[in-house]
C-alpha cells in the first residue's frame, strides 16, 4: 500500500500519544517545536548558563531533540520503502500550480515562514503536536485558543497568498 488512510493514521497517532503520556511510556506530552531553539543554542554555541530560555528548555529540548532524530529516521525509512516518494526537490508541485514556478521565490518564502513559525510556536508554547494534539487531548483551554487562532490565520493566508482560482 502506498499510503495509509487518514483514519488509520488518526488511530495510530492517538495510540502513540497515549503511549507517550502513559507512566509506562514517557509520562509527558508529545511536542515537536522546543527542539528548534535547543538546537539553535547548540549550533550557534550559546552558553546555556547565560540565557534563561535555554535553562528553561534544557529537559524538554533534549527530549524532543532525540525524538526528532527518530522522526528523521522513521520518515526516511517509510519514504524509501513504503511510499517510494523519496526524491530531492526544490519546489512543491502545489506551489507551482497555485503560486509560481520560481525556485528563488519558494526558498525565500520558506526561509521567512520557517523563521516566523518558530517564533510563533515558542511564543504560544507549542505547535501542532504540543498544543493541537497533546494539549487538546487534555481539553486544555490554552490549546483550544491556539488551535482556533492557527485555523483562522491558516485559512485566511491560504486564500490571500495563493491563486486558488484556477486558470
Amino acid at each position: 500500500m502506498s499510503r495509509l488512510p487518514w483514519w488509520v493514521g488518526g488511530i495510530l497517532m492517538a495510540g502513540l500519544l497515549l503511549m507517550t503520556f502513559s507512566v509506562f511510556g514517557a509520562d509527558r506530552p508529545l511536542g515537536a517545536s522546543t527542539y528548534v531553539p535547543y538546537f539553535a543554542g547548540i549550533i550557534f554555541d550559546l552558553d546555556p548558563e547565560k540565557y534563561s530560555y535555554l535553562k528553561e528548555i534544557k529537559n524538554p529540548g533534549a527530549w524532543e531533540g532525540v525524538l526528532l532524530l527518530g522522526a528523521l529516521l522513521g520518515g526516511f525509512v517509510t519514504s524509501v520503502f513504503l511510499t517510494k516518494s523519496f526524491r530531492i526537490s526544490l519546489i512543491p508541485t502545489g506551489w507551482k500550480k497555485y503560486k509560481n514556478h520560481s525556485v528563488l521565490s519558494r526558498l525565500v518564502w520558506s526561509f521567512v515562514a520557517g523563521f516566523f513559525m518558530i517564533i510563533g510556536a515558542r511564543m504560544a508554547g507549542g505547535c501542532t503536536s504540543g498544543h493541537f494534539m497533546s494539549g487538546m487531548s487534555q481539553l486544555a483551554i490554552s490549546s483550544m485558543i491556539f488551535g482556533t487562532m492557527v485555523m483562522i490565520a491558516l485559512l485566511i493566508t491560504g486564500k490571500i497568498f495563493y491563486n486558488t482560482k484556477e486558470k
Partner: protein, 222 residues
C-alpha cells in the same frame, strides 16, 4: 578497554552527548524509547502523507482535508483514552498555561507561516528526510527564529507573551460533570473528523512513480 565519552565540554559533539545524557537522566522514558517514539511519529506522518505541502498548504487553500480529519480524529480518540488513563493513575496532566499575548500573536504567526511553508515543526523534518530541500531552507530560517527568540526572550518576547492567566481545562468549568464533558468532547471531535468532507489534492510527481494499481487517485475514481 573502556570507551570514555567526554560530556563536560562545550564543543558540538559533547553538547550532543549532553543531550542524550539529559534524556537518560530526566525520567521521561529511556533513550531508546524516546528515539522509538520519534521513529513511529515520523513513520505515521510520512506514511499518511500529511507532511506534504499539498496536504497542509492544500488545506489552507481548502483543496485537501486529510490533515484536519486526521488531527481531529487523533484528538477525539486520545482525549477519551487519556482521561481514563489519568483517572486510573496511568498518566498525568501536563496543561500549558493561557498567556493571552503569546497564544494570540504566536498562534497567528504560526498559522500564517504554516500556510506558506506548508509544514509545521513536526512534519517539516519528516519532509526533509524525504528529500525536500525547500523545507531544509525553512528549517534554517526556523533555527534563526529559535536563536532570535532565545536572545531576546527576557527583553522582548516574555513581556509580549504576557502573564500566565491560568491553567484551565474544559472540564474544570463544569464541576461535578467532568466525565460527561470529556465524553461529549471526545465524541463531538471524532464526529467532526468523520463529517469533514474528504477532499484530496494529490502530487502528480509522487504518483507517477507508483504502479497503477497502487495509485490512490485512480483507486478513488474506480
Amino acid at each position: 578497554m573502556d570507551i570514555i565519552v567526554k560530556t563536560a565540554g562545550d564543543d558540538f559533539p559533547s553538547r550532543i552527548a549532553q543531550m542524550f545524557e539529559t534524556v537518560i537522566h530526566q525520567g521521561h522514558g529511556s533513550l531508546v524509547l524516546v528515539f522509538l517514539i520519534g521513529v513511529i511519529f515520523g513513520g505515521i506522518i510520512q506514511y499518511t502523507r500529511v507532511d506534504k505541502f499539498e496536504k497542509i498548504a492544500g488545506f489552507a487553500m481548502l483543496k485537501d482535508t486529510i490533515v484536519p480529519k486526521m488531527l481531529f480524529l487523533t484528538v477525539g480518540l486520545a482525549s477519551i483514552g487519556l482521561y481514563f488513563m489519568i483517572e486510573a493513575g496511568w498518566a498525568h496532566y501536563h496543561i500549558k498555561p493561557v498567556m493571552w499575548g503569546g497564544l494570540i500573536i504566536g498562534g497567528t504567526l504560526f498559522g500564517i507561516s504554516m500556510a506558506i511553508l506548508g509544514k509545521c515543526p513536526g512534519t517539516g523534518p519528516v519532509s526533509i528526510a524525504e528529500g525536500r530541500i525547500d523545507v531544509l531552507v525553512g528549517a534554517i530560517g526556523g533555527l534563526l527564529g529559535g536563536l532570535v527568540f532565545t536572545l531576546y526572550y527576557e527583553d522582548f518576547f516574555k513581556p509580549l507573551m504576557g502573564e500566565v492567566a491560568g491553567k484551565w481545562t474544559l472540564p474544570s468549568f463544569f464541576q461535578g460533570h467532568e466525565h460527561l464533558v470529556v465524553l461529549i468532547f471526545g465524541v463531538v471531535v471524532t464526529l467532526i473528523a468523520i463529517l469533514i468532507p474528504k477532499v484530496e489534492f494529490f502530487d502528480e510527481e509522487d504518483l507517477k512513480k507508483l504502479p497503477e494499481c497502487e495509485r490512490p487517485d485512480l483507486k478513488e475514481a474506480s
